[in-house]
Symmetry: C2
Subunit: 255 residues, 2 copies
DNA sequence: CCTCATATG
DNA sequence: CATAAGAGG
């Protein structure tokens, strides 16, 4: 059971760079994409269907903005599009697929880098999201939260922690939020498997050759319900995929 | 004395495709450019200056839209930017350089293809322009009107006259306007030199390989005051220049 | 430094 | 089918 999360920075752009060939090779059972940036016309998902995937989409109301999609080879027993809160659902930020013994919550958390109001919006979302997940825990066992969190927790999760103490994505408030979320009963699959390994990032700015110099952040995560933790057989990054400014992040669960 | 008119469809784009190398080779004395599409930052004309040109610009008020520029190796004795009518000058459509024994009126006439209101605007412009030129005739002898006229006169000026009887750029009204303008005392340099030659166009849509199939229109013209007609030594198109959806059009005047 | 929508041609 | 600005990241 391989689950991959990947912020594609525009699904059509990623497709034009050979995303489907990469999907065929990587062969995830469940593929969570973020920032699909769907337009006004319906997205063409036939390429995924040809590879045996069912497609579930949650685009933003605004064309070309945000949006998540989950592709799955397993048939879900339930699909929940959105979270029921309009200001988030209009931005296409959550999509849940329930399977027999686990659920995959695909999420694209807001970025706070453009304007202070968006950082405030993000903080609001983080509080909402934690409460939302706590509620899910009661009814949806075996949650796997996968997506672009647009934040990280520890100094080793970004190239230059010192210079970014107050940068959106690494503020004390966000770091504390991340720790609290984990304390609610989740395992960061990457850290579980790689311990305190450094230099593993999932996003690099396009500017000034940051990716070639590995000046990045670990913003994309797969948080696994701690009850599922014993089933984690592998986890990591797939930095050879170059369709985006992010790289894919994966986890494998045994039976 | 070589005068070239060229709709560059974005000066920065054309420069990135080697416009300056082409200018060095073509070596015009006066170069009229249209659709420079200047942005908010001042255009970098140093490359033209390095080739010995003086630069005169008339950008539109709206960044990235319309605008004309004239580059000259001869020092003009007068330069007139715009025509004095705000609704045209805000779109950067005329720029006149007076030399000792002739003047070059660089013009980018409105396109009418986007919306009916723009075709109406264009018709208004055409009437204005003819009156404007009639006034100039009294005070500015030896006028050379060069630019993208966005219209043509005769069946042989476009690939498919039959199908375009009512297309903007070839409506009966525009064709009559063109004939009237010539009757005011101007010689179409291209026709003067090439008679009724067919298949010579100066614009091809980017769509569906129109240029390769030579499915085009002759929209760019050099109209020479009939008093200067005896001085025309050469005229024609330069379709090997491929920086734009238009090609350059030239005329040479002897002493 | 990218992708995308929109305006304009 | 292109250019360009502008939003968003």
């Amino acid at each position: 059971m391989k689950i991959i999360t990947y912020n594609v920075n525009g699904l059509r752009s990623a497709l034009s760079k050979g995303l489907l060939d990469w999907v065929r090779e990587a062969d995830p059972d469940v593929l969570c994409l973020q920032e699909i940036k769907a337009g006004t016309a319906p997205l063409d998902v036939s390429g995924f269907e040809a590879l045996g995937y069912q497609a579930y989409l949650h685009p933003a109301a605004k064309p070309g903005y945000s949006g998540v999609a989950t592709f799955t080879k397993l048939t879900p027993k339930a699909v929940v599009v959105g979270c029921g809160t309009e200001c988030y659902d209009s931005e296409g930020r959550v999509l849940r697929l329930d399977f027999d013994d686990f659920s995959v919550l695909n999420t694209y958390m807001p970025s706070g880098t453009s304007r202070p109001e968006r950082q405030a919006f993000k903080i609001g979302w983080l509080h909402f999201f934690r409460a939302y997940v706590r509620e899910l825990q009661a009814t949806v066992p075996g949650l796997v939260i996968g997506g672009d969190f647009n934040c990280c927790q520890r100094d080793i999760d970004l190239h230059n922690a010192k210079a970014n103490q107050n940068s959106p994505g690494f503020t004390p408030e966000e770091r504390a939020w991340f720790a609290d979320l984990l304390a609610d009963g989740y395992t960061d699959a990457f850290r579980h498997h790689h311990g305190d390994a450094v230099g593993h990032y999932s996003w690099w700015t396009f500017r000034s050759g940051a990716r070639a110099r590995n000046v990045g952040w670990r913003l994309d995560h797969l948080l696994v319900d701690s009850g599922l933790q014993p089933r984690i057989t592998a986890a990591g990054h797939l930095p050879d995929a170059v369709h985006s400014d992010h790289c894919p992040v994966f986890v494998e669960l045994g039976e």
